[in-house]
């Protein structure tokens, strides 16, 4: 598939080009239009690449710098889904900003440039075959998204941005130590060739990597990329950044940036597993971090008052669930990937609803948001349904992926792990249900007027809900094939 390899270059070049022309656009409206129209077009190109991978096998460019296999193609699809959703929503959201926060020409252009820049950096993380370049991509996303958090400059948004910048830069620097140690574990024999750190090359020689060095490396990688992924206890930046960023940016953070960091960890997982001779050492670490994240998030969810912080802790919980799935063998890996897609779609919807309800009520305090079903039917429905799906109400897709996870735990006879996971899930269920019911019904605040919902906003609520409902009731055979071929790479049976 040499000819198709070029499409991968275009997936990187196009967003960079658009980012470069964004600063010279004539008006705020044109900048937002560019975001709403351009992203779906790039997504179509990506869709073509993804379909090619699942029909004809992995794509590799000349020189082997870019590579798209089942695992990265699956994540690329999730990335594009989240980006398209958030881009369209950004157009709606910024039109409804209160006058004090309205985007002027300058900040709209900055938003467009950084938005496309972030898209290019995240695509680079998924496409790069070289683990060093992948690290460069992860660090680049931190820097490009920092100013998206403080799009509206205020003391608290600056505080959130500073924490994000410092905590994630230092965290990702630790991951760089991990990458160096992986390179060191190759040994002196083949360390001089130009394919050093190419994933396809490392995978072929994974059995010969130095076992102890790979273990040290994986700890650095897990802590480093785990910081960016929001795994507890390295999640301190996450609730601040998610609550202060504008809603489309929060949706992008939760919907894909966290998953991108987990993807970076996933790339190293089969290498460590082969190097340690399949002893399950790395899996146990992932299970540990996953459980801690679920339980820590559960506690904070119960006591939370701010809607967007509540959703942020919810992301910590779900990232924990995905990490837990990754540690639970082949079935767990399928569950984790399925959960990745479900969580991204649902969390994007939840942040959209939180953003619009926040604009309508003028606050994110959940005690003041009441009767949202009456005040705005579309986003009130989106908020209620979104939270219910997130906490795993049947028959939606998140219930199904959590069900797979439970089966994976039972099959591998990890009853202790299962018990802790269920305990966390029950706490989250009870805590979140209280918030969801409180916001949906109750006495309507006198100061808040009803806001009608146009068709476009209804579509943005109904389409994700339908998608999650259908996936919860019926898994298309083609989709099952996609999940399985992606998870095979994680469990080490894949061919480069």
């Amino acid at each position: 598939m040499d000819g198709m390899g070029n499409i991968l270059w275009w997936l990187l070049i196009l967003p960079v080009l658009v980012a470069l022309i964004s600063p010279v656009l004539p008006s705020a409206r044109s900048a937002l239009a560019l975001v709403m129209v351009g992203v779906p077009l790039i997504a179509l190109l990506a869709l073509w690449a993804v379909i090619t991978v699942f029909q004809a096998g992995p794509l590799l460019t000349v020189g082997g710098w870019l590579h798209l296999d089942a695992l990265s193609a699956f994540h690329l699809a999730v990335l594009m889904v989240v980006f398209v959703m958030s881009s369209v929503f950004a157009g709606v959201y910024f039109r409804h900003e209160p006058p004090a926060h309205a985007l002027d020409r300058h900040s709209a252009r900055r938003f467009a440039a950084l938005w496309y820049g972030a898209m290019a950096a995240m695509t680079l993380v998924l496409l790069s075959n070289n683990l060093g370049v992948m690290w460069v991509g992860v660090e680049a996303t931190t820097l490009l998204t920092a100013f998206l958090i403080c799009l509206h400059v205020s003391p608290v948004s600056l505080e959130a941005t500073w924490k994000y910048l410092i905590v994630c830069s230092v965290g990702v620097a630790f991951a760089f130590m991990g990458v160096l140690l992986v390179a060191a574990s190759i040994g002196a024999v083949s360390a001089t060739d130009t394919h050093l750190l190419h994933w396809t090359h490392l995978q072929a020689i994974a059995g010969n990597l130095d076992k102890n060095l790979m273990k040290v490396a994986f700890i650095f990688l897990l802590v480093g990329f785990g910081t960016k992924a929001g795994l507890a206890p390295m999640h301190s930046w996450l609730p601040d950044a998610h609550s202060q960023a504008p809603a489309p940016v929060s949706a992008l953070f939760s919907g894909f940036m966290l998953n991108m960091a987990l993807y970076a960890i996933m790339r190293f997982l089969p290498l460590v597993a082969s190097a340690t001779g399949g002893s399950g050492w790395a899996s146990n670490l992932l299970i540990g971090f996953g459980l801690v994240s679920i339980l820590v998030a559960a506690v904070f969810i119960v006591v939370q008052r701010d809607l967007k912080r509540f959703l942020a802790y919810c992301s910590v919980e779900h990232i924990g669930i995905i990490a837990l799935g990754l540690g639970l063998g082949p079935l767990g890996a399928v569950a984790a990937l399925f959960h990745t897609l479900n969580h991204s779609v649902c969390k994007a919807l939840a942040f959209f609803s939180a953003g619009r309800l926040g604009q309508i009520y003028g606050t994110h305090d959940m005690r003041k948001i009441r009767a949202s079903l009456q005040v705005n039917r579309a986003w009130g429905t989106g908020m209620l349904a979104g939270i219910l799906i997130l906490i795993g109400v049947a028959p939606f897709a998140i219930f199904m992926s959590e069900w797979f996870l439970i089966r994976a735990a039972v099959e591998s006879q990890r009853y202790g792990v299962l018990g802790l996971f269920l305990a966390g899930a029950v706490i989250v269920f009870a805590g979140s249900l209280r918030h969801a019911v409180g916001m949906a019904w109750g006495p309507r605040p006198a100061s808040v007027k009803s806001v009608p919902s146009p068709v476009l906003e209804w579509l943005m609520v109904v389409l994700p809900l339908l998608f999650l409902l259908v996936l919860g009731l019926w898994m298309p055979p083609g989709f099952r094939h996609i999940l399985e071929s992606a998870s095979v790479i994680l469990t080490g049976g894949g061919t480069p």
Binding site: A146, S154, L158, E159, I166, L180, R309
Partner: protein
């Protein structure tokens, strides 16, 4: 055998110690820049020696770490109009003790790590690198000013560069350039953030950035 490399690493460790007890921001900025330049020169004296690739990289690093970074940071300090200086949470006596402890730890760890360090690399490189990483972390958590946090990050990054030199002698050029670009943009973004913070808050004390909790 490793005369020059040994000297460079010894200077690097001394700079780490000096950073833990220096009280003037301007001095700290110069020390970190000097450390970056020293590290940029290190590959020229290693086994690879002088060739277009190492010369090009070294030149680039000297410009970025030796000229651009100190310029950016000094400007941020000037614009923010910082009168008070470094302001550690601990006294300078404690700081220097911590600095010495970190140096000891880095030797202890550096010698025990089972790294495939080649014969041609000086034995001081790994301990020096770990020492710089630990010192950077200490500066990050123990200082009050936003600028000193950036300096801590840079010292940490210097340590990782040295570590990379010791364990992976030939990182592909593309990756080196990517890393340098990331660090460059990183410091640029942080400098802009400091400017915003000082304008919005009339200070740049990170311990007062504590509204967001829970």
């Amino acid at each position: 055998m490793h005369g020059i490399t040994d000297n460079i690493m010894a200077i690097l460790m001394l700079i780490n110690l000096a950073l833990t007890l220096s009280s003037r921001l301007a001095t700290c900025i110069s020390l970190v820049a000097f450390q970056g330049v020293m590290l940029a020169l290190l590959p020229l004296f290693s086994h690879e020696g002088l060739n277009p690739r190492t010369l090009f990289l070294a030149g680039l690093v000297v410009v970025v770490k030796g000229l651009i970074f100190p310029g950016l940071l000094s400007r941020a300090v000037r614009d923010a109009n910082v009168r008070r200086e470094v302001e550690p949470f601990f006294g300078y006596g404690t700081s220097i003790l911590v600095g010495i402890a970190l140096l000891t730890i880095s030797f202890w760890v550096g010698i025990r790590l089972p790294l495939p360090v080649s014969e041609t690399t000086s034995a001081l490189v790994v301990p020096g690198a770990i020492g710089a990483i630990l010192t950077g972390l200490f500066l990050l958590v123990s200082r009050r000013k936003a600028v000193t946090q950036v300096l801590g990050y840079l010292v940490m990054e210097n340590g990782m560069t040295a570590f990379g030199l010791a364990v992976v002698p030939e990182i592909p050029l593309l990756i080196e350039l990517g890393i340098l670009l990331d660090v460059f943009v990183g410091v640029l973004v942080m400098a802009i953030m400091i400017w915003h913070i000082s304008r919005e808050f009339d200070h740049m004390d990170v311990d007062q950035l504590s509204t967001l909790k829970g």
